[in-house]
């Protein structure tokens, strides 16, 4: 199981890769493993304003469904178009081609509240 060091994590099992004032968001390797085969991802539309900690979409596996929570407050500026047809990318490359959205952060101070890889690893007991 991978826990890349160049990204930040949330307690709800999302990750964020910060680049300037935007961040790319996905779910963690641990989360995809727990969910199993992901068959459908419902993501917020481009331009949607999202608020940290609030539900912004859902992710469906065969026998489980989970809310996606916004890791940061901001506006959705890009949505991964591949996931509509190839949701299995979330299983195959959770930190790569399985990314979900890019958000423009409203408050960069929120980044400090995210976990680093060691803290997240401790959270999931790995």
């Amino acid at each position: 199981m991978e826990f890349p060091k160049d990204i930040r994590y949330t307690r709800d099992h999302e990750w964020v890769r910060i680049n300037g004032d935007t961040g790319v968001v996905g779910i963690t390797d641990y989360a995809q493993g727990e969910l199993g085969d992901i068959v459908f991802v419902e993501l917020p539309a481009r331009g949607k304003k999202i608020k940290r900690g609030e539900s912004m979409g859902t992710i469906e596996a065969v026998k489980a469904v989970s809310d996606l929570y916004a890791p940061l407050t901001g506006e959705v500026v890009e949505v991964n178009p591949e996931l509509e047809k190839n949701s299995e990318l979330v299983n195959k490359e959770p930190y790569g081609k399985g990314w979900m959205i890019r958000i423009r952060m409203a408050d960069k101070n929120e980044v400090a509240s995210l976990l680093d890889d060691a803290a997240y690893r401790a959270l999931v007991g790995k």
């Binding site: 199993g36 085969d37 992901i38 068959v39 459908f40 469906e60 596996a61 065969v62 026998k63 489980a64 469904v65 949701s87 299995e88």
Partner: protein, 973 residues
């Protein structure tokens, strides 16, 4: 009470006792019961039961009514049936007489190989009914013109309500809270829509679709096609107007009419629902019947109920399964699209088979014939001087009669034992059906030829009308082109097709199905025989009460028994499933609070371990779900309950609690739990799913419940039918009786009553006879013994298995209730084995897995019931113990961690007998891991199904035949 059974029974003190049904129903005999008691370390059955169920929660009295023999019960049943009077029903309103093909009646409806299965969660051993249900979906898709259909809903009215809920999920955010109901819908549909709308805050507006003007506050609309009076309206303009205003339209459409009429999808509707009863299902005084539900592709994630989908198995062969389950209550709970769980699988299978049997040409013949006879009747009535009120009809006429003629017409109809629909104002409705013929048209014309008027002969009326339906809404598109609807025309082929599919399903005719919380007990033949007697199955749900006096006796007696068993004051038989019972019960609680000026109470406390239907039902009843924690031992955390009940006291509406708990434990604090809720102003709803552990020993009303549903299809022997029918009557404490559901066709409701919750006043009346027969056969002591043995069997199995697995929760005296949970979670780490591998491996041993991963992920919940003999309990334990050894081999490194008997299970005959065998274990171990399998091997029809493939590529109609050809579909890993 003096029951009919007692009146008819031959006096007691018979020196030569009859055969006892109790010993036929209860699996283990006296000797084996002794052995089982010894194994669990109890001296007697009484001592054992006292140890399991603390005295403090035991029922105050015992059930005392006597048992009856099978022969006596059938005789009594004949006498009750004789009180029903069979009239020819031309009432219509969504129920029409039909000819059940005998090959379907005997080989499906009356065949335990089709009616004793559970819902097809274990798809590899359910391919038979999955294919039959796929046929049903394909038929619905073709008739309605929509690309997506589900595998049935409970009835037409609730299906229409589900469509409206779906529309609200899709459009509610943009539109206002209103939806339109055409006044020409069936009255029961209007009533159920109004009931369903209220708690959700939807505003129904009933009106004339021809003049109605939409505005932006409407999200949906319901129309009837043909309408309840028989007119075939063209709804194209109406749909355009609705869409223009942002509203979606559902058409409640008679499926037989769609053979001749433009399908709803083609005239612009967004969904279609309807009753498939007239496709070979007896009327049964209201049910059970299968409603259909079809809609557009883009709404597939909002569809309620089961959808059967096509996927592939590990070998790449096509295989069927339930698709997109994440919509459903068992996964999404309070966020589910609907609370529906049990549907009407058996009836949908029959309706689909009716389509297979007749094919499109046969259905066209039937529909044309009905229409032509109706046209002949219209023309004859006009010749007699009557006004037929509309020109465009399919099978139903609205006829105006002059006041001076009405009495004579009524008398003549009564003499000839014919029911029609009287609207008032001298208007009457006549619906012809598959059973109609020229003689019937002539009889009707003679009825209307009052005062000795000369009567035109039907034959003379026919030629002018011999063409097919020719109105503006005639159907042009082809339907049911799939080979399955063209391949089984002879009875020989039909019989073999039905039997071939039956052979792919594991049912109670093969082995025990120990599904926790599902009570897969014996459905005895005697209990089921009367179901297809004409006096029970031939009655229209809205027939005059004086023709259904046998049913009235049956309802009264069954209610009386259920009152004695539960301690409640009254029952409503209207709910058609357990989930619908939950929903109805919560509505009753709402009505009660409203009557006290406390209509604001809307918080429903639900333990985290509750069945998924509980939170889904609470949301449908307009309640807010607050989850109560469970303690480590599985019981409700009374501290958390007290806190939350107090915190929400001003708004507390109800607690939903299952008893014994979903963890299979008799919680000693149940009375305290009920007291806490009452003290904070709430009512207690008891989920009766586990009633099989209570009958005769505990009574829900005495434990503190205010209202409770019973699953007659679990505890009281109605078969599960492979996913329905279900029957979920609700029993109410005295203070709630006046709020039980009403029905517009069963007399005017008293003020305060809850509205209609189902199409028919007594729900699935046609199968209540099963539960009545079970209770009368067993007698009070027999029923109590059944409970005792159900609990003993669970404890016996838990005892044997606890030497090999962890048993998760135990109650007083270290005992379990009637079911228990086995823990498999450790094996993921130790052997790479998940619960699904165990469930699939059980198939190789000829068993259906117990409930998997509920209420605890990674576990099995086992409920043996009283009907399984000790030998069968042992065989199942032996299988699980053998599987434990197979896991141990992996743990010790003797078997491969990836390529082993569990991970590759189930093994099909084709895989085991293939020339290629590359696994490190033998073919023999794969397919014959236990000695008994030599004599009785059940082969799974397909290998492990790829669930993800099916959900990503939803196909819910029969795939083209080419896909069954040699080239396997590529398997995506």
């Amino acid at each position: 009470m003096c029951t009919v059974a007692e009146q008819v029974r031959i006096p007691a003190l018979d020196p030569f006792p009859r055969d006892s049904f109790e010993r036929r129903h209860i699996g283990p005999d006296r000797d084996r019961i002794s052995g089982m008691l010894e194994r669990v370390g109890a001296a007697s059955l009484d001592e054992f039961v006292d140890g399991v169920i603390p005295r403090g929660i035991r029922a105050s009295g015992s059930l005392s009514f006597p048992p009856a023999s099978e022969e006596e019960v059938l005789r009594t049943m004949r006498s009750i049936a004789g009180k029903n009077r069979l009239f020819r029903s031309l009432i219509g309103m969504g129920y029409n007489d039909t000819l059940t093909p005998a090959v379907i009646q005997r080989n499906i409806l009356e065949n335990p190989g089709w009616y004793t299965q559970y819902t097809p969660y274990q798809s590899e051993i359910s391919q038979g009914r999955l294919e039959a249900l796929l046929n049903f979906q394909t038929m619905v898709i073709d008739l309605t013109g929509f690309p997506i259909a589900n595998a049935s809903l409970l009835d037409e009215a609730t299906a229409a309500a589900e469509a409206i809920s779906m529309f609200h999920s899709i459009r509610g955010a943009q539109s206002g809270p209103k939806f339109f109901i055409s006044e020409k819908c069936h009255p029961q549909t209007i009533a159920v829509l109004q009931t369903r709308a209220k708690p959700l805050g939807f505003i129904p507006v009933v009106g004339d679709h021809r003049t109605f003007q939409f505005d932006g506050s409407f999200f949906g609309a319901v129309v009837q096609y043909p309408c309840t009076e028989g007119t075939v309206y063209d709804y194209r303009d109406f749909c355009r107007k609705a869409h223009g205003a942002g509203a979606l339209v559902v058409a409640a459409a008679d499926p037989l009419s769609l053979v001749l009429l433009t399908p709803p999808a083609e005239f612009g509707a967004d969904a279609a629902v309807g009753n498939t009863q007239r496709f070979g299902i007896p009327m049964g005084y209201g049910g059970p019947h299968a409603a259909y539900f079809a809609t557009r592709e883009e709404f597939k994630r909002f569809v309620p109920g089961r959808i059967i989908g096509v996927s592939v198995d590990t070998h790449g062969a096509p295989a069927l399964r339930m698709a997109l389950q994440t919509r459903e209550q068992h996964i999404r709970r309070e966020k589910a699209t609907s609370n529906i769980c049990t549907a009407q699988a058996l009836l949908a299978i029959m309706a689909g088979m009716y389509g297979v049997y007749h094919g499109p040409a046969g259905l066209r013949r039937i529909a044309n014939r009905v229409h032509i006879l109706t046209a002949a009747l219209a023309s004859g009535l006009q010749k007699l001087g009557y006004t037929v009120l509309h020109r465009h009809f399919f099978d139903t006429l609205l006829v105006a009669t002059e006041a001076s003629k009405r009495d004579e017409i009524r008398r003549a109809l009564l003499e000839r034992r014919i029911n029609v629909r009287w609207f008032g104002d001298g208007l009457l409705g006549i619906s012809l059906d598959e059973v109609s013929d020229e003689a019937e048209v002539e009889t009707l014309l003679r009825v209307f030829a009052t005062g000795g008027a000369s009567c035109p002969g039907a034959a003379g009326l026919l030629p002018a009308n011999a063409g097919a339906y020719a109105g503006a809404m005639r159907r042009e598109s082809v339907f049911m082109t799939h080979p399955v609807f063209h391949s089984y025309r002879s009875e020989t082929e039909m019989l073999r097709y039905i039997r071939m599919l039956e052979g792919r399903d594991l049912s109670l005719t093969s082995s025990m199905i120990p599904l926790g919380s599902c009570t897969m007990k014996l459905n005895a033949t005697t209990e089921l025989l009367p179901v297809t007697w004409p006096e029970f199955c031939g009655i229209h749900p809205f027939a005059p009460a004086d023709q259904a006096e046998g049913y009235a006796v049956l309802f009264a007696e069954l209610e009386s028994y259920l009152k004695q068993i539960t301690g409640f004051a009254a029952f409503s038989f209207q709910p058609n499933s357990g989930a619908q019972g939950e929903y109805s019960g919560l509505l009753v609680i709402r009505s009660y609070h409203e009557s006290r000026g406390e209509g604001h109470r809307n918080v429903c406390l639900i333990p985290s371990s509750a069945h998924g239907t509980n939170p889904a039902s609470a949301v449908m009843a307009g309640m807010k779900v607050v989850v109560v924690r469970a303690l480590g031992d599985g019981s409700i955390d009374t501290g958390d309950l007290s806190r939350k009940a107090a915190e929400h006291a001003p708004n507390l509406a109800a607690l939903m609690v299952t008893y014994p708990s979903t963890h299979g434990v008799f919680e000693e604090r149940i009375r305290t739990i009920c007291d806490i809720v009452h003290a904070n102003g709430g009512q207690v709803y008891m989920d009766g799913a586990n009633m099989n552990a209570q009958v005769g020993l505990c009574a829900p009303a005495e434990l503190g419940a205010d209202i409770c549903h019973l699953n007659l299809h679990k505890t009281f022997c109605i078969p599960h039918g492979g996913g329905g029918p279900g029957v979920g009557p609700i029993g109410a404490a005295p203070h709630l009786v006046e709020f039980l559901p009403s029905h517009p066709l069963a007399g005017p409701p008293a003020p305060g009553m809850t509205g209609a919750v189902a199409s028919a006043p007594w729900g699935s009346a046609g199968i209540l006879v099963v539960s009545w027969a079970y209770i009368v056969l067993m007698g009070g002591e027999g029923l109590t013994n059944a409970t005792r043995i159900a609990i003993l069997s669970a404890n016996y199995m838990a005892e044997r298995l606890s030497e090999h697995y962890g048993v998760l929760y135990r109650g007083p005296g270290n005992r379990v209730a009637h079911e228990f949970i086995l823990d498999f979670r450790q094996f993921k780490q130790s052997a790479g084995i998940e619960i699904e591998d165990v469930a699939k491996r059980l198939m190789d041993y000829g068993f259906h897995a117990p409930t998997t991963s509920f209420p605890v992920p990674g576990t099995l919940m086992i409920e043996p019931t009283e009907s399984e003999p000790r030998e069968e309990l042992d065989r199942f334990c032996d299988a699980l113990i053998s599987i434990r050894h197979e896991i141990a081999e992996i743990e010790r490194g003797e078997a491969d961690r990836d390529d082993n008997v569990l991970r590759n299970a189930p093994h099909t005959a084709a895989a085991v007998m293939s020339s290629e065998w590359k696994h490190p274990y033998t073919r023999e171990r794969a397919a014959f891991p236990a000695p008994w399998l030599r004599a009785r091997k059940f082969w799974p029809a397909v290998g492990r199904i790829n669930n993800a493939y099916g959900d990503k590529n939803l196909v819910c109609s029969c795939p083209p035949v080419e896909s069954y050809a040699q080239d396997p579909v590529p398997v995506t890993e």
